[in-house]
């Protein structure tokens, strides 16, 4: 099985980073849920739902009849072996790919193709499986670019430094600085993004997505290629971000241990089809999932790699 996952429980994913909560965090316009989130989310209308999504490239079927619903405030994981169609799904949600069939419902509106250009305004932000930072900008400006869509001054005003342009720039950099602090990136604030180590670049991408305080955050393998320590750190950041900004998270991750500890519900894809969907406990015990995906792992309790 071509998957670099660890066995269940091999990693205790629910490692909190208490210092994150101790910090003063940027004031979010939407307050974090006070009451038990799970209860409130249970009967809320889905924030995002996919209905009958189908997508193919030439002869390759990337997605077939995929339905998915994501409730406000939950961390929704998507797992599956390589090539199962996980990234394609996120690309459909963010409008990078246009689905051949089906549609995406977002905040109640229905799209055949989600308008990528308006994504940020719709309150959706994402990260990419392969790093997609702006290498020629420093970390601060990379993160600030996440709210560049709010800029209202034009280039002439910016050149001459008149009107709202100065205030806008100060405001955007200020917000970016807060997020950098939140994710412990202040130390590399002025470094060119392309010169950072891989793990930090991944975190900067998360910062760029978070700075817009999105309602929906799509994370495509945010922990790929990280050490166990970095992974649990990242998991803590994701959870902290959700709790702080009341952001709904869709998360793709290969490390089953991390996923089980972090997510509220999990969907499993295999060859473009959704073969299971449920809570971590349900997924853990789903026979189809064990057969198709987790079989080897569950026999291999030590998580010695597959």
């Amino acid at each position: 099985m071509p998957i670099s996952s660890h066995a269940f429980g091999a990693i205790e994913a629910s490692v909190y980073a208490p210092e994150i909560f101790a910090q003063g965090l940027p004031a979010a316009p939407r307050q974090a849920h006070e009451e038990p989130r799970q209860l409130a989310a249970e009967d809320a209308a889905p924030l995002l739902s996919l209905e009958g999504i189908g997508l193919s490239f030439g002869g390759v079927i990337a997605l077939a009849e995929v339905d998915l619903s994501v409730r406000p405030g939950e961390i929704r994981a998507i797992i599956g072996p390589n090539g199962a169609g996980k990234s394609s799904l996120i690309n459909v949600i963010s409008g990078v790919y246009r689905a051949d069939r089906g549609h995406v419902r977002l905040n109640g509106a229905r799209y055949a193709q989600v308008p990528t250009q308006r994504l940020a305004r719709l309150g959706v932000a994402r990260t990419f499986q392969n790093l997609a930072l702006f290498k020629g900008l420093n970390v601060l400006d990379n993160v600030a670019s996440g709210i560049a869509y709010r800029t209202r001054s034009n280039f002439a005003g910016q050149i001459l430094g008149i009107g709202r342009s100065r205030r806008e720039q100060a405001d955007q950099r200020g917000r970016a600085d807060q997020i950098l602090e939140f994710l412990h990136l202040t130390g590399v604030r002025d470094r060119l993004a392309g010169t950072l180590p891989y793990g930090l670049q991944k975190r900067v991408e998360l910062a760029r997505a978070l700075v817009a305080e999105p309602r929906l955050l799509l994370l495509d393998e945010p922990m790929a290629g990280m050490t166990a320590g970095e992974k649990s750190e990242m998991a803590a950041y994701v959870r902290a971000a959700r709790d702080r900004f009341a952001t709904t998270v869709v998360l793709i991750e290969h490390d089953v241990g991390v996923v089980m500890g972090l997510s509220d519900r999990i969907a499993v894809l295999d060859y473009g089809r959704k073969i299971a969907d449920g809570t971590p406990d349900e997924i853990r015990n789903d026979q189809r999932v064990i057969d198709a995906y987790l079989g080897v792992a569950s026999e291999n309790e030590e998580g010695a790699g597959i």
């Binding site: 990528t116 997609a132 900008l137 800029t151 806008e168 720039q169 002025d190």
Partner: protein, 351 residues
């Protein structure tokens, strides 16, 4: 070209160097205004500084499009030509229009043409876009030669520059034209610098580095690309005006051929992509180097070679220079300059 650093982040890297980062350009500008006119002879102005200024400005313009926004253009000379001929016609046909106004208007004409020929960038990328910018090159050159209206019915499209008169002050002679060109270049370069360190400039870089990510975070990709074409063409157009009005005084469309476009491209490669300083360093090399080469040839070998041979050798050496830079110093003279300066600084501190 792999790790493009921007002037912006370079200045921010050396925090607190705010004063000194302004000091150096200020000293250079003061030197250019005060000392150079006193010591320079007419050869220096006519053969070196005037073409240097015009080409530097064109390099700044192309760098905004190619270095910052990542859209390769092979048609820069077309925008120089558009600027030069537009200024000529505004000056000729609109009674009493001040020179400054015709220069600005000619920049706007060049920008408009730039937007039209930038439209393919909305759908094409990389080589496909680069090749399609050749359309601008050939179309503009053809139109200026074909329709003699543009050159006021002169033979083979030749135009003569008007007097350079601003607010009653006449920029006369080599030094006068130098000061005129210098002023235009300083102003536009300052504005260009402000642009690339603004939000718009960062949007250019974002689109260059990762177009999909830029679109996802809501940067208006199409509008920003066209803006890059417009601003770049504006600056290159004004560079064309300087080329025609201050440097050569008499130009024809054939002077703005494909070789000129390549020359400007070479300037930014040799100087350093995505760097305002780079355009100046590159232009300096491109202007001085052939002169030095022919001097050297004459000195070493006397007059045995005709100009054709010299021309060819220059071509060869120029080509070799490009390749050498791409292999050895892909970030251009700017990177070299910065390295040398850092070394010197270190040596100075340790002694």
């Amino acid at each position: 070209m792999s790790a493009i650093t921007t002037d912006l982040s370079a200045t921010e890297l050396s925090k607190g160097a705010n004063l000194s980062s302004w000091l150096a350009p200020l000293i250079v500008v003061a030197f250019a205004y005060i000392v150079v006119p006193l010591i320079g002879g007419s050869y220096l102005f006519e053969a070196i500084l005037l073409p240097f200024l015009a080409l530097s400005l064109a390099g700044v313009g192309l760098n905004i499009l190619t270095g910052y926004a990542g859209q390769v253009s092979l048609g820069s000379a077309a925008f120089m030509a558009a600027g030069a001929f537009a200024a000529y016609n505004f000056n000729l046909r609109v009674e009493g229009l001040p020179l400054v106004a015709s220069i600005v208007l000619s920049g706007i004409v060049a920008a408009a043409i730039g937007i039209v020929f930038g439209l393919p960038s909305l759908r094409l990328r990389g080589f496909y876009l680069a090749v399609s910018t050749l359309a601008a090159q050939f179309f503009v050159q053809w139109a200026l030669t074909k329709f003699s209206w543009f050159s006021n019915d002169s033979a083979s499209g030749v135009i003569d520059a008007p007097k350079l008169c601003i607010a009653g002050f006449e920029f006369d002679g080599a030094v006068g034209r130098y000061l005129f060109a210098l002023t235009v270049v300083v102003i536009l370069t300052f504005l260009a610098y402000r642009l690339v360190s603004s939000q718009t400039g960062r949007n250019f870089i974002a689109i260059r580095d990762n177009e999909i990510a830029a679109r996802i975070i809501g940067i208006p990709v199409l509008r920003t690309k066209l803006l890059a074409f417009a601003i770049s063409s504006f600056i290159i157009g004004v560079a064309g005006v300087i080329w025609a009005f201050a440097y050569l005084r008499t130009v024809e469309p054939a002077g703005f051929d494909l070789d000129r476009s390549f020359q400007i491209l070479f300037i930014i490669i040799i100087g350093g992509l995505a760097s305002i300083r780079g355009a100046f360093l590159g232009a300096a090399l491109i202007v001085v180097f052939p002169l030095a080469l022919s001097r050297l040839g004459n000195f070493l070998l006397g007059d045995v070679f005709d100009s054709g041979v010299l021309d060819m050798s220059q071509r060869i050496v120029l080509g070799a220079l490009i390749i050498l830079f791409l292999i050895l110093e892909p970030d251009g003279l700017v990177a070299l300059w910065d390295r040398v300066r850092r070394r010197l600084l270190l040596a100075w501190q340790s002694s």
